[in-house]
């Protein structure tokens, strides 16, 4: 059987760099919530296609550059 694969994006936070600005949770509440101290809890499953643009923006707008976007290979 042939499994088709595609490349997807996954969110990750660098906890050392993160300073709890919280922009990521504002930009992408579908994937990021904040804990009681304001630090992001991210959903690490592949980001759906319709949220990719927002995920990239969340990464770009983080003042600490703490939002990492990892490329992962997933089965279709």
């Amino acid at each position: 059987m042939i499994t088709r694969q595609r490349v997807a994006l996954r969110l990750r936070v660098d906890p050392v760099a993160c300073d709890a600005y919280g922009y990521c949770a504002e930009i992408l509440p579908e994937r990021v919530t904040l804990d009681e101290w304001g630090y992001p809890i991210v959903d690490g499953t592949p980001v759906d296609a319709d949220l990719v643009a927002l995920a990239i923006r969340a990464g770009a707008e983080c003042p600490r550059r703490a939002v990492l976007l990892e490329r992962v290979t997933v089965n279709r």
């Binding site: 990750r12 936070v13 660098d14 906890p15 050392v16 993160c18 300073d19 709890a20 804990d35 009681e36 101290w37 304001g38 630090y39 809890i41 990492l68 990892e70």
Partner: protein, 433 residues
Amino acid sequence: MSAVTLETNDRLLTVRPGGGMGPDLAEHLATHGTLSIPARDDTDWRTGIQRAVSASGLLGRGGAGFPSALKWDAVRRGRRRPMVVVNAMEGEPASAKDRVLLSYAPHLVLDGAEVVAAVVGASEIVICVAEDNRTAAAAVERAVTERMRAGIARRRMSVRRPPSRYVAGEESALVSWLDDKRGLPMLRVDKSVPLQVSRRPVVVHNVETLSQVALIARHGPDWFRRVGTPEAPGSTLVTVSGAVRSPGVFEVELGTPVVDIVRRAGLETELAGVLLGGYGGAWLHPSRLATPYAPGPLSAVGATLGVGIVIALPVGSCGITETARIARYMAGESAGQCGPCVYGLPAIATDLEQLAAGRADSAVLERIRARATAIEGRGACRHPDGVVRLVRSALAVFADDVAAHAQGRPCPGHSAGSVLRFPDGHLASRRAS
């Protein structure tokens, strides 16, 4: 643990502790036999060692339990000459095995380091002993000098003294101290990428792991597997303390029932529980004392080998109070880099202190559990995860006491003394009641 007793007639610890240090190089070689390490890269020898250590099933003894031989290939492949780092930091306050090994079998540790250095093609061996551990540092310094004089040290060997902090011995923190003196854990996105010092790949091994490598290089994997279980072969060092007559370091076969390990140190009373692994380990319920001391069976009851710490908690002590002390200590030992650890650990410690004192509000248990879930897996290193594991195990193992404390009825053990050990002057030791 001022007076360390240790068992003899074992594999790793073969001398009876007397007045001085032991053994010197001649005694070491008389006990264990010579070990020939090729001066240049020798493919047959190298693959032989790699096969032997893989076949032995040796798992790292520094806490993570990673298969030792798997660390070598990634380091060998680099363009720059690798460095071997001997991790003798032993930041766990209740652990003494690494300092005992360095004091009583320093040449065995250095043999292991030389073997690994030859396998990975390293040009330098760095032995890291915590700043406050003068005895172990003196022992290893002496052994290094002896090897230099005897002309058997094939590589540059030096002893370095990083600060004595709990997380300073975490692999990436240790490497970061060697690299730029920061000494903080690093976020490792891909753990198969080797750590580096001055852009040279580094392989880090615990002291006990290297001693085991030195023995396997001499006697082979079948010999190693003669003790222990098929899944968890070999022997290991444990540091037993708490409610026992003779606290100290013991060499035990993997698979030994936990209760037998405690008995070897002279079990005195009925136990309320046993702390296994370390301060980021887990409590074992007294009904589970027959559990074999090996990774598989321990993980089935939520516990871990960790760095071989075994602390007997006597009936009459309060497991919640003891756990609160550890949580406060661990909160203070955060490297201070990651928010969930910086804020989460003190919050959980406060929750536990209130629970221990019977002064908590009705939502305290729910809050502890929610905070544990929130913190888990969100640090760059595993420091917060260890606390989470310990706290969860405390809520389960001391469930009856937890319920009583939560209803404002703290057990009498709350004001009893502690069986735990903390570095002098630490906050946790002052908050004893």
